[in-house]
């Protein structure tokens, strides 16, 4: 048996998301991202670095209870084992757990623990690197999506906090309606003002294509691409 050869020194690993927008880039926490900051009314942001886990288990039962939501709806965990995570009911007995970038290890462990505690047959797969994730924010977002997605985005069909999977520009995509609270423009002053915002999550290798299709569809609404408005 031979000794493992001494590893040659290589550059520190740089992670890249599925998307590359033209223009300068910079490295943030080991991820190479666009250096642009979008300020327009309609923004497409690359959330590739977010932690993404898929959980599978019985549609009803302990796993579901711990994850806090079921198919078609989302739950944001502000406390508890999954604190900081947005759980999306992505399918019957299928969840997508999204967490802040860099929390991969902890969130995976916490989610595994939740699953293990359930006593049900359930599994967790880390798909952080296997998926593309973007956030589309702005009042024109539904009009843009109406050009690429056949699902009715009216409030009565897809309200805030709901999610569905369908074809977007012919790519199978999880669409999550997750409106953003307007800090600055809140006429009622009671924190109820919201800006339309959607997360779009698809298989990684089609991510660039999907983003290009969204940008093309959004040109008439003045879409801009850039770094995420917030780290959520």
């Amino acid at each position: 048996m031979s000794e493992p050869a001494a590893a040659v020194s290589t550059a520190p690993p740089v992670a890249r998301t599925a998307l590359a927008f033209p223009g300068p880039r910079r490295i943030v926490d080991g991820w190479e991202l666009t250096a642009r900051h979008a300020t327009g009314d309609l923004v497409l942001a690359d959330l590739g670095p977010l932690v993404k886990l898929t959980v599978r288990g019985p549609a009803e039962g302990a796993v579901r209870a711990a994850l806090g939501t079921g198919f078609g709806r989302t739950a944001r965990h502000d406390e508890g084992a999954l604190a900081g995570a947005l759980v999306v009911g992505a399918g019957p007995g299928e969840w997508l757990v999204l967490g802040p970038a860099g929390t991969g290890g902890e969130l995976l462990a916490a989610t595994r623990a939740v699953v293990a505690d359930s006593g049900e047959f359930a599994s967790v797969v880390d798909v952080t690197h296997g998926r593309a994730l973007v956030r589309l924010t702005g009042a024109a977002a539904p009009a843009l999506l109406a050009k690429v997605c056949a699902i009715d985005l009216a409030d009565r069909v897809v309200p805030d906090g709901s999610a569905f999977r369908s074809s977007v520009a012919r790519v199978v995509t999880d669409v999550v309606r997750d409106d953003i609270r307007d800090e600055l423009d809140d006429p009622a002053g009671d924190g109820t003002a919201r800006t339309r915002s959607y997360l779009l999550h698809c298989e990684r290798s089609s991510g660039q294509y999907l983003a290009d299709a969204l940008v093309d569809a959004g040109t008439e609404y003045g879409i801009e691409v850039g770094a995420p408005p917030s780290a959520r």
Binding site: G91, P92, E94, A150, F164, R165, S166, S167, V172
Partner: protein, 83 residues
């Protein structure tokens, strides 16, 4: 475009689904004669009217499910319905 009522996702455009075919029972492979097996493989009822069939919701929940469809006018009802 037809709407297909997915039991999980609700009514969706039929283009989100893949048609799998007439619902068939696979004969016991250990006892079926070659002829029986091939009839299972190749023959279809192909009725003009109601038929029970399998669809796959590939662009949605990714579940296989059975549905009844009238092949003459493409009316759809959930499997087991009688009207």
């Amino acid at each position: 475009m037809m709407l297909l009522p997915c039991p999980n996702c609700g009514a969706r455009n039929v283009s989100e689904f893949r048609y799998v075919g007439e619902a068939k029972t696979r004969p016991d492979p250990t006892t079926a004669t070659p002829q029986e097996w091939r009839r299972h493989l190749y023959l279809h009822r192909n009725p003009a009217g109601w038929t029970r069939e399998t669809w796959y919701h590939g662009s949605g929940c990714r579940r296989y499910f059975a549905i009844e469809r009238n092949t003459v006018d493409n009316a759809v009802r959930t499997a087991g319905a009688t009207s």
